[in-house]
Symmetry: C2
Subunit: 141 residues, 2 copies
DNA sequence: AAGCGGGGTTCCCTTACGGAACCTCGGGTG
DNA sequence: CACCCGAGGTTCCGTAAGGGAACCCCGCTT
């Protein structure tokens, strides 16, 4: 399908994949740790990790002389985390309830608690759903 | 799970749901049109639409004296589109290949083609995966 | 009265998931 | 040397979710 959203979903749209990325981002990088943290079945975790490695989102790195491995974000995977931050922001706003957000994000540049705010790469003004027109691009073929 | 990403996935994490939202955002709002556009089974489309309406992401509005309905984004759903734009941006960068992006986004405020650029709500500087520390928040349970 | 078209339901079949057990490969321990 | 351990999977089976096609309902239109 000539749609970048659909293509992105082919990479990380399967059940559990975003949560696996979140774990790796948060420092939970080993098979058993991810499995215990998420409560996912080992079979599905194997499938998801293999797929994410094949897609170049994660890389599998040994951390011991024995055959022991950790999963790390590649550059491609690191950019996916922006999507996770937007998801987290939406969940904080609409689903967190009285308790407030479970995680806070402290921005290195300013040292303050903030959240992601989508802006136009061209002019820097806010870029929300109603702020754009969709036009066919070169790959619309 | 005390995780806003997981909570968000409970709302739009099922297969097809993001693509349904994309269709509605792009103006494909009716059952048969969405079904034809995505090639999804009617049964699953019914389930997904009902779930999205229950979650307050879509609303079901009559458009005729006969029992005919359109699905529209609520405010809650409209904010989810920011996530879709980030997904599209990632797909454009990493998966579009030679052909280039299938869709271009023209920003109303500046009239130019742009893409979403996540910035810190506090200081306005870029806010990417490596630019934040994660801290437990009030809802960390 | 017959037909149509939107918006679903129902049925059946196949695929995917969860759970638990099993396997493997190095490295310690007695 | 024999044994056990623990990380990282793989295999097997039963249940749950998805796809396809057919069917249904209801309010027009002719």
């Amino acid at each position: 399908m000539a749609c970048s959203i659909a293509r992105t979903l082919d990479v990380i749209g399967e059940p559990w994949s975003p949560l696996i990325l979140r774990d790796v981002w948060a420092g939970v990088r080993r098979f058993d740790h991810i499995q215990a943290d998420l409560g996912i079945s080992r079979k599905v975790l194997t499938e998801r990790l293999n797929h994410l490695v094949e897609q170049g989102v994660l890389e599998r790195l040994p951390y011991d002389a024995r055959p022991r491995y950790e999963y790390h974000l590649t550059a491609k995977g690191t950019e996916l985390v922006e999507m996770l931050m937007v998801m987290a922001r939406w969940g904080d706003r609409w689903l967190a309830g009285e308790a407030g957000p479970p995680i806070l994000y402290r921005h290195h540049a300013c040292g303050q608690i903030g959240h992601v705010d989508p802006r136009c790469s061209h002019c820097g003004e806010p870029m929300h759903a109603g702020d754009v027109d969709l036009l066919p691009g070169p790959g619309s073929g």
